[in-house]
């Protein structure tokens, strides 16, 4: 599989989840594990551009696919616009849900570049955050969609 543009080839146990493959085998720990029941969305990554909870997919199912993790989105010095919007609007506190939340937002905006507030809230329903009360996450996603219209 390709992860963040780099091709990887490993022999893995059939039961290995994609998230464990990314974290343990490839060594990309930005993708977090928050639950065991595909409920929290902390492990959200993009597979061929679409958001997927990486705990719902086996590593072997991602064979030949292109995976983007948070490490592949922007970098410390050059944040992706969605990452920058999260910082601008205080869309994160502890930051544990953040990589998954950001990637879910990227996927949401790819499908619907100009969502309403309600569409953002519904679109992020699969990603839980315990710190922010979601208000600033929603604001950040709307700002990323319409940078000129939303101010802090």
């Amino acid at each position: 599989m390709t992860v963040n543009g780099t091709a990887y080839e490993h022999e893995v146990e059939p039961r290995l989840l994609l998230v464990d493959y990314l974290r343990r085998v490839v060594g990309l720990t930005g993708t977090n594990v928050g639950c065991d029941s595909s409920s929290c969305g902390a492990c959200t990554v993009l597979v061929d551009g679409e958001s997927v909870k990486a705990c719902t997919m086996l590593a072997v199912q991602a064979r030949g696919r292109s995976v983007t993790t948070i490490e592949g989105l922007g970098s410390l010095g050059a944040l992706h616009p969605v990452q920058a919007a999260f910082q601008d609007h205080h869309g994160l506190q502890c930051g544990f849900c953040t990589p998954g939340m950001v990637l879910a937002a990227v996927s949401l905006l790819a499908e619907n570049p100009h969502p309403t507030e309600e569409e953002v809230r519904l679109g992020l329903e699969g990603n839980l955050c315990r710190c922010t009360g979601y208000q600033n996450i929603v604001k950040a996603v709307l700002a990323a969609a319409r940078p000129a219209e939303v101010t802090a």
Binding site: G30, N32, C35, L92, F96, C97, V102, R121, L128, R130
Partner: protein, 797 residues
């Protein structure tokens, strides 16, 4: 209103919405949580937990597990018995006769809740350890469970036979018992309500995790833990394992939320430390969510009986609260004290002359309870704010009016409460008025009336919650009077490095609160440097040796104040050096914009960086002045701080389906002066959602056999973005006079305020049906049942 009071010597950084410096690393996956640490050769622990709420452990057979591939070792509780120099720590012995059962990290004879650890497997990988844990055979003799608090009080089933009772303690605060009796005897209105505080799972998004690395030389050990309290953990690891404290280093790397759940010392932290030392290899454990539902503390869990005595106008003459608090099976770090953090605020923000509080701590065969966001104050606030609405109904006045009539007035501060605390400052009426204005309260009441008149299936409910809470834990002498084992001070060091850059060391331990940003703002403001030039170090006991960590909305008012005062000391020392270099009297120097200048001689000036370099070279220091520019301060607050405000919740309830929709939420909070309003608002948003979650969504449910049935996030309903509207926030500013920045805590206020606001709204919506209470969470099922029952007995429609 809505402005920040100008702080002294401000360069304008404090009070601004500075973006957080913590964010880029968290946004890019660069940040490292415990489970992200790459530790070569680390072994993985899997824990065998009791499937029974109560069971004698007859035998533990590890033979099959020990032979499985990748297994390094396996232990029963008995095998590990000698590792413990002491039992699991309890830091709060609330009464001298408090009963505290022996609690070991791995149970030896009896498991006392479903999830109690009974055996341990250590493997080369997490998979190997978990597979082998499934192969451990434990012979249990099931014992009866006791789940219900009142059943536990009967002592028919004992959780700990050796104690002879399920009562851990009783604690009372009734300064004038006869006065309270008289007040109730002569009351015109007597409100008597029972409320249930359901158990909650704190559920930080990062599960707990620990990784312990024995250092090869000298026997030192480094404990990485997803904890709020690295400093407390270090002491407790030393005491519990009999390790010299100075050979233990605790590091809390990035920590993904805590909410009180990580304000504890857990079996797994002690266990991994013991195993790492015993096996001579790094040992790690990361909690699974469903495991954590049982093995991480729960919050709340109380039955509250509250009574108000009031005169004909609804002015309260006495408050009496009697609570039963569910300890769970054992006392964790501060389990017993949590209800007592509410003991002083059951009278809420009201001028109540007579007061009585009584608490019974009760053991049950359930996961131990402990601090969860607000810790005692949300429970107290819920009880009084629900009771205030009941009083308003009795008196026949608007809930806002009954609050106005009873508020402690702005000119009464400092106000000494009947419970014995001195409230620092407040203006409760103004916050309530502002909240009503923002909510368009009169219009809402009109709409509500119209819906009631036309029997609209969707009814409108409006709920108020006017809260005050005590936070900024805590004055050490007050803690002493409550028999808490430690103090409540906080420590800070400020050092100006030779090149003029600034390093700050704090004893607070942030896990989402943005201390690095806020602390840099405080110091930058005072020193006249850029916040970018101020580094903030924390959460590593080797770097920050003194500290009492982060909980109880204490970090800014206690830790921030320590920092403020340490910076003052640095400036004072720099002034001495600058005066010497400028050949001027210290009193003639102005310090502004990061430079000392001689008053009246503007050309004679010296930047702080130059002073720092002189302090470093020590070539030309005044006699008796030590080299380097650094100062430390430990601040013990003289009092708690008392943030307050009013929240308004507006709900629509579909009476045909029982569904509650939160339509509007207005919050007006006052936390005194604000260092970074962006962060303050974030704390309030998050707090509100956790408070609403208790009202409408979350409950840790046990079946009659003591099995926790809500062990996943599919069963335990941590709400998503889709459940909420945007919240409307405003604030008033009433500085606290008890610290130089005039600040109060804000981490828990939202949670404290929100639960009663929403439940008052739910009950308000359903009041035409004669419904006066709904147990939390007010799920569609519960609301629908209540409406059906009311309709069957002739309630509205």
């Amino acid at each position: 209103m809505s402005t920040i009071d100008e702080l002294p010597a401000s360069t304008g950084v404090v009070g601004t919405r500075l973006k957080r410096r913590e964010d880029p690393a968290l946004l890019t996956g660069e940040a490292r949580f415990v489970d992200d640490l790459d530790v070569a050769g680390a072994l993985h622990v899997a824990i065998v937990r009791s499937p029974y709420a109560h069971a004698r452990i007859r035998a533990v057979d590890l033979s099959i597990a020990a032979e499985l591939p990748g297994v390094v070792a396996a232990f029963s509780g008995a095998d590990l018995r000698d590792e413990w120099a002491g039992p699991m720590p309890t830091a709060w012995v609330v009464t001298p006769d408090m009963r505290n059962p022996t609690h070991l990290p791995v149970a030896v004879d009896t498991a006392c809740y479903a999830g109690d650890a009974v055996a341990v497997v250590v493997g080369e990988s997490a998979f190997a350890a978990k597979d082998a844990a499934d192969a451990v055979v434990v012979d249990y003799e099931p014992l009866p469970a006791v789940i219900d608090l009142e059943a536990a009080l009967s002592d028919r089933v004992l959780v700990h036979e050796e104690l002879g009772t399920n009562v851990s303690y009783t604690w009372e605060l009734t300064p004038d018992p006869e006065g309270v009796e008289r007040a109730f005897a002569s009351a015109v209105h007597h409100v008597k309500e029972r409320f249930i505080q359901q158990r909650l799972l704190p559920s930080p998004m990062e599960p707990r995790g620990v990784c312990v690395v024995p250092q090869p030389y000298g026997g030192d050990v480094t404990v990485y833990s997803a904890t709020q309290v690295p400093h407390i953990l270090k002491i407790m690891v030393g005491l519990t394992l009999g390790i010299p404290e100075h050979s233990i280093r605790v590091i809390a790397p990035s920590v993904g939320g805590g909410f009180g759940a990580k304000l504890d010392v857990y079996a797994e932290e002690l266990l991994c430390t013991a195993l790492a030392r015993r096996l001579g290899r790094p040992v790690r454990w990361t909690e699974e969510r469903s495991e954590g539902a049982q093995a991480t503390i729960h919050g709340r869990g109380q039955i509250q009986d509250i009574e108000l005595a009031a005169d004909a106008d609804g002015r309260i003459t006495a408050v009496r609260a009697r609570i039963m608090a569910d300890m769970g099976a054992y006392l964790q770090l501060i389990t017993a004290g949590i209800p007592l953090l509410g003991a002083f605020v059951y009278h809420g923000s009201y001028d109540v002359p007579l007061y009585s509080f009584h608490c019974t701590g009760v053991f049950t065969t359930k996961t131990p309870t402990d601090a969860y966001r607000g810790a005692g104050r949300p429970e107290a606030t819920y009880a009084i704010e629900r009771a205030m609405d009941a009083l308003a109904r009795k008196v026949g006045v608007d809930p806002a009016e009954v609050r106005h009539r009873n508020f402690i007035k702005a000119d009464q501060f400092p106000y000494t409460s009947a419970a014995g605390l001195t409230f620092d400052s407040g203006d409760y009426d103004t916050a309530l008025e502002r909240a009503l204005e923002l909510a368009n309260y009169p219009d809402l009441r009109l709409e509500q009336q119209a819906r009631r008149e036309r029997n609209d299936p969707v009814q409108l409910g409006i709920g108020l919650s006017s809260y005050v809470e005590m936070c900024g834990l805590a004055p050490s002498r007050v803690l002493a009077s409550l028999n808490y084992t430690a103090g409540g001070w906080e420590s800070a060091t400020v050092r100006v490095l030779p090149t003029g850059k600034v390093q700050v060391v704090t004893g607070t331990s942030p896990h989402g609160q943005g201390h690095e940003t806020s602390w840099s703002m405080i110091v930058a403001d005072k020193l006249g440097v850029s916040p970018d030039d101020v580094q903030v170090l924390h959460s590593d006991t080797a770097i920050s040796p003194h500290g009492l960590d982060t909980y109880g909305s204490r970090s800014l008012s206690v830790g921030g104040t320590a920092l403020w005062l340490a910076t003052d000391k640095v400036i004072a020392k720099a002034r001495t050096i600058a005066a010497h270099l400028l050949e001027a009297a210290e009193d003639d120097l102005d310090f502004a914009g990061g430079a000392f200048s001689v008053r009246g001689t503007p050309t004679a000036s010296l930047p702080l960086a130059a002073v720092a370099f002189e302090a470093f070279t020590a070539h030309n220091l005044p006699d008796g002045v030590e080299p380097t520019l650094e100062a430390s301060m430990t601040w013990d607050p003289p009092n708690f701080v008392f943030p307050f405000g009013t929240h308004v919740a507006v709900v629509e309830i579909d009476t045909d389906t029982g569904a509650t929709r939160l339509r509007r939420y207005v919050a007006v909070d006052d936390c005194g002066n604000q260092v970074n309003p962006l962060i303050v608002e974030g704390q309030i948003h998050g707090g509100i959602v956790q408070g609403i979650a208790q009202a409408l969504f979350e409950e840790a449910v046990y079946d009659p056999d003591g099995n926790l049935v809500t062990t996943t996030l599919a069963d335990y309903l941590v709400p998503s973005a889709a459940e909420f509207p945007g919240f409307t926030l405003d604030h008033t500013v009433t500085p606290s006079p008890t610290n130089p920045m005039g600040v109060k805590g804000i981490g828990e206020a939202g949670t404290i305020a929100a639960t009663p606001a929403v439940m008052n709204a739910v009950v308000d919506a359903l009041s035409p049906y004669g419904i006066r209470d709904i147990d939390m969470p007010a799920s569609p099922w519960r609301v629908w049942q209540a409406v059906q029952a009311a309709r069957a007995t002739g309630g509205a429609r």
